[in-house]
């Protein structure tokens, strides 16, 4: 069966915050969950930016389970586009990139862009003096 990967922001209602939802997703639905960003306060609403990887059927079932728990799901289709060929490798973007998608190679001093680590926080867009990053709203 085809593997699929989806990025989404999960918004938990206050009554679900204390449920072991991530555990259930992994254990019962056999999907791989990569938490990219989390902002959860017990007893209040919470947000989780995740990447869900698994067989398409399992991912669909997992999403169905989340919906049954009143978790609001917003698909993340934002990605960052980088005009790499115009880069002068100053590195100004690298220290604002907290997930480590923009790193300077210690030997060549060239900027490395690792899109798989990017969470589209958009800080690089403002940090780049040559304005080489832009937001892409296309389908992920």
């Amino acid at each position: 069966m085809a593997r699929t990967k989806r990025r989404m922001v999960l918004r938990f209602p206050a009554e679900s915050v204390n449920e072991p939802i991530t555990y259930t997703l992994i254990k019962e639905y056999d999907v791989l969950i990569n938490i990219l960003n989390a902002d959860i306060t017990h007893g209040r609403e919470g947000n989780l930016l995740i990447e869900m990887v698994g067989d398409k059927g399992n991912v669909d079932n997992a999403v169905g389970y989340l919906e049954s728990k009143q978790v609001e799901i917003s698909p993340v289709v934002k990605t960052i586009l980088f005009n790499e060929s115009a880069c002068i490798h100053c590195g100004a973007c690298s220290s604002v990139c907290f997930p480590g998608a923009l790193e300077m190679d210690p030997d060549s001093r060239k900027l490395q862009f690792l899109p798989e680590k990017c969470v589209a926080c958009e800080l690089c867009i403002k940090a780049c003096p040559l304005q080489l990053f832009e937001l892409n709203f296309g389908v992920n």
Binding site: I88, H89, C90, G91, A92, C93, S94, S95, V96, E103, M104, P106, S108, R109, K110, L123, K126, A127, P129, L130, Q131
Partner: protein, 383 residues
């Protein structure tokens, strides 16, 4: 007897293709296994370079006269105001001047487009005089239909610069880049042991008239830069611990390569311009050898809090630590990044090395040395 070489002797070796030329990084690495006497014996010239944002930059152009002629009193290029307060069709494009409706576009972008051969829209206004009757003009100019384009940068190549951090609770957008709150990151701007004025801190060989690499071609040091400071505190290795000496440089825009001049925009600060500068340093004797052997860990700089308008000093670090990608301050590990490009600076140092090796670039002895013990005034607000 210790080695003593003159500019003339080194130039003769360059002309014969015998000069030993190394980049400042290569000679710093050599310094780990060689004494200054050995370096002075073996190496003739060391190439240094920097490629960083340098606001105090710009370009003079002369557009040629229209018929009937106009004495331009206000003018814009692609909508960016340019300085007209000199003769009729002489203009100065200041790198940081911005388009009134687009703060991310400015003089540096116009300069980059002129270097690249693009058409630029010129609009100018005048009151009209008996000798210059035309009152307004709208046309396009490019590198092929103007008389001169001379880059003249009043302050470039700062000798050292502080590291910027932000202790406040809000992100700060500065000329030192985006500074995340609560020491979220640290930004610096130098090529460290490759930087020109850190390899000749007393400016024995770098002075007025020195031939340099500027923006892809040959340029010259025309004067000491504005805000030049030669009385700064030195560390134990003889280099200033903060921003000190500067250079005013000049070069022919027609010969420049746009890959070594790049327009920049810093969010909520404004436009600046990356300038590529390379300076050869002759290893005249053991003392100069000691200078060019300086290593990143021997170059100290101050860490300033840009979250506070007074920029108080929070600590000191060195370029080895900064270039490792992380420094420690207030028991916190902070990610560092550079605003100047070490990758491009290395490219310049290598290019200059190759030019000197093949005899295409000779060294110049300063026509005059820079002032010693020069301090700075600050602007007093008088009521």
């Amino acid at each position: 007897m210790s080695v003593q070489k003159t500019f003339q002797e080194i130039n003769d070796r360059i002309k014969r293709g015998e000069a030993v030329v190394m980049t400042a990084e290569e000679v710093s690495a050599m310094g780990k296994t060689h004494s200054p006497a050995q370096v002075a014996e073996k190496v003739d010239v060391v190439t240094t370079a920097t490629f960083g944002p340098m606001c105090s930059s710009g370009m003079f152009i002369n557009t040629g006269h229209a018929n009937p002629p106009i004495r331009m009193e206000r003018a814009t290029l692609n909508g960016v105001p340019v300085f007209t307060g000199i003769a009729a069709v002489d203009l100065y494009i200041g790198a940081t001047e911005t388009h009134p409706e687009n703060p991310a576009y400015g003089g540096a972008h116009v300069i980059e487009e002129l270097l690249a051969g693009k058409d630029v829209e010129l609009e100018a206004f005048a009151k009209g005089t008996d000798c210059y009757p035309l009152k307004n003009i709208k046309t396009t100019i490019n590198r092929n239909n103007i008389n001169e384009m001379v880059m003249f940068n009043p302050r470039n190549a700062y000798q050292n610069y502080p590291v910027a951090v932000n202790l406040s609770n809000r992100i700060k957008y500065t000329y030192m880049g985006s500074l995340l709150p609560k020491l979220g990151n640290a930004n610096y701007s130098t090529s460290g042991e490759l930087s020109p004025l850190l390899n000749d801190p007393q400016m024995r060989t770098i002075g007025m008239g020195t031939r340099i690499f500027l923006g892809g071609t040959t340029g010259y040091i025309s004067w000491y830069g504005t805000q030049f400071k030669s009385d700064a505190e030195l560390n134990e290795f003889g280099v200033p611990v903060s921003n000190a000496a500067t250079l005013a440089v000049i070069g022919d825009g027609f010969q420049m390569n746009p890959s070594f001049i790049k327009a920049a925009y810093y969010e909520k600060y404004g436009v600046s311009m990356f300038v590529g500068i390379g300076i050869p340093i002759p290893v005249l004797d053991e003392e100069m050898a000691t200078r060019v052997m300086i290593r990143n860990e021997q170059i100290t700089t101050r860490i300033l809090d840009y979250g506070d308008p007074d920029h108080p000093e929070l600590g000191r670090t060195n370029y080895k630590e900064l270039m490792s990608g992380e420094i420690e301050l207030n028991q916190k590990k902070i990610k560092t990044s550079s605003l100047s490009s070490l990758f491009k600076a290395r490219e310049i140092a290598e290019l200059l090395k190759e030019q000197i090796k093949k005899g295409a670039f000779l060294l110049t002895e300063p026509v005059e040395v820079f002032p010693k013990g020069k301090g700075l005034n600050s602007l007093e607000i008088r009521s």
